[in-house]
Symmetry: C2
Subunit: 281 residues, 2 copies
């Protein structure tokens, strides 16, 4: 089936949707993006993802060249044309074409929207929990969702060998986030998470707000040794919701089982995102 793409104002079949080899998103990695998912075939948390996209763009001195309403319309058309059961929707904004590979015109960016089939983790993973491996790394421009995933992708063979979901970034002392998700621990009943120099997580932010009346929440510095001493750990992301982490660098977190606070957050999230019966999960 032909996949359709929105590119600079037009919806085109994939075969006709071309990016210039002179695009500065390609030549200099000067690009931001955002990724949202559908629930029941409709964009979920669209406003939040658009807000984050605008914020990422402004940190690069870029502006999304079309209105939020036009984006919403384009997403709706793509979802209809591409016929996913559930989809992820990727919004990509670059600095545009750069004939000399360095200069670019912020008033002529490249903006495109792709859709993909949604791939959620297997239900068993939510039952038994997943693994992470640590990596000494600090994301450049961490408050912006740039397209720079060099360190995460380079580590793919290592995460695969460890049967891990992702890398957990730390600076030798403090942890920040994983390659593609927000990171949290539970210690003595409190939910703790790094706050500075991490990307704002649309799911994590909402989960914490939904859970704020149930659990004390501490946002601030989180040390690696505190992570290993925590009772529970979990990640949040658009495609994974709330996912328990039971092992980091082959060391068990707590007793190595999915803990009660994480279970409750998973339930809260499932109810919120998919309805009372969690029918969609």
């Amino acid at each position: 089936m032909t996949r359709y793409i929105y590119l600079n104002g037009t919806i085109l079949p994939e075969e006709q949707a071309h990016v210039s080899p002179f695009d500065i998103g390609l030549l200099r990695g000067y690009a931001v993006f955002d990724l949202l998912r559908t629930v029941g075939g409709r964009p979920f948390l669209l406003d939040e993802h658009l807000e984050r996209l605008h914020n990422s763009a402004s940190q690069l001195g870029l502006r999304v060249p079309v209105s939020d309403a036009e984006i919403a319309t384009a997403i709706g058309e793509l979802l209809k044309l591409n016929g996913h059961a559930e989809a992820t929707v990727r919004l990509v904004l670059t600095g545009g074409v750069s004939p000399d590979g360095m200069a670019y015109d912020p008033s002529a960016p490249t903006f495109f929207i792709l859709t993909h089939d949604l791939h959620e983790p297997a239900p068993e993973l939510y039952e038994r929990g997943g693994r992470l491996v640590t990596e000494l790394h600090h994301r450049e421009l961490p408050k912006a969702k740039t397209t720079n995933y060099l360190t995460m992708l380079r580590n793919k063979p290592r995460t695969a060998a460890a049967d891990a979901l992702d890398v957990l970034y730390h600076d030798g002392s403090l942890v920040s986030e994983t390659g593609s998700a927000s990171f949290y621990v539970v210690s003595e009943g409190r939910i703790r998470a790094p706050h500075e120099d991490v990307l704002w997580g649309t799911v994590g932010d909402l989960v914490l707000r939904l859970a704020a009346h149930r659990f004390p929440i501490e946002l601030g510095e989180l040390r690696l040794d505190e992570v290993f001493a925590a009772d529970e750990a979990f990640i949040t992301s658009t495609t994974r919701g709330v996912l328990p982490i039971v092992e980091i660098d082959s060391r068990k977190i707590g007793d190595g089982e999915v803990g009660p606070v994480t279970r409750e957050l998973m339930a809260i999230w499932t109810r919120h995102a998919f309805g009372e019966d969690g029918a969609k999960r």
Copy 2:
């Protein structure tokens, strides 16, 4: 005039040279490149640049899909077709097309070659010297020439406002390199430069070898305070050769004039690259 591009084995007019919006070089910044210049219309230091490209690629688990001989032939054809007086030649290698925006096939990379008109700094700049501004930043994967220029490009308004050529990266104590060049100082007759965690500079490396019998050379840690106390400073790069730096963050280096060691290195470089009379400069 139509510009021609080499893309995955074929030379095409720019209008027909398309990169997929699903390219992981675009979606995840997973790409390396190299840039060489011509002298007298012929590729200069081609072997060195190819060696660096292969080294960059291997650090991302990628391989250039064609032989060095095929690259040399393609460059020759592009230079003939594109008719530059002198050119820069850009070799770009990405992880290839990624339908889901994360997985990619290392055996099917995207490899393309672009040429640009060469723009050299004005001769006056070599006479009076240029400025830099410092920036707290450490390049990710510094021994690879990745396409990640986020920090350099974000700083363009600041460097322009300061009439500076580039940003000089430091970690709060040690300096490393500029956004697009290698960095050196001269202190008490010795040439000093950072060595670890910086990109190997094809011009800088050769200049130091040519000058090794004339000046003591110390490669190792270089502190920011040592930079400000130095007698001279200069940068080296493919398009700029040896270029004196006389001011950093509005502070004069030495007496703020181009120093004698830098002058001699400039002369050594000009003779080597352009012949006895430096006819090309």
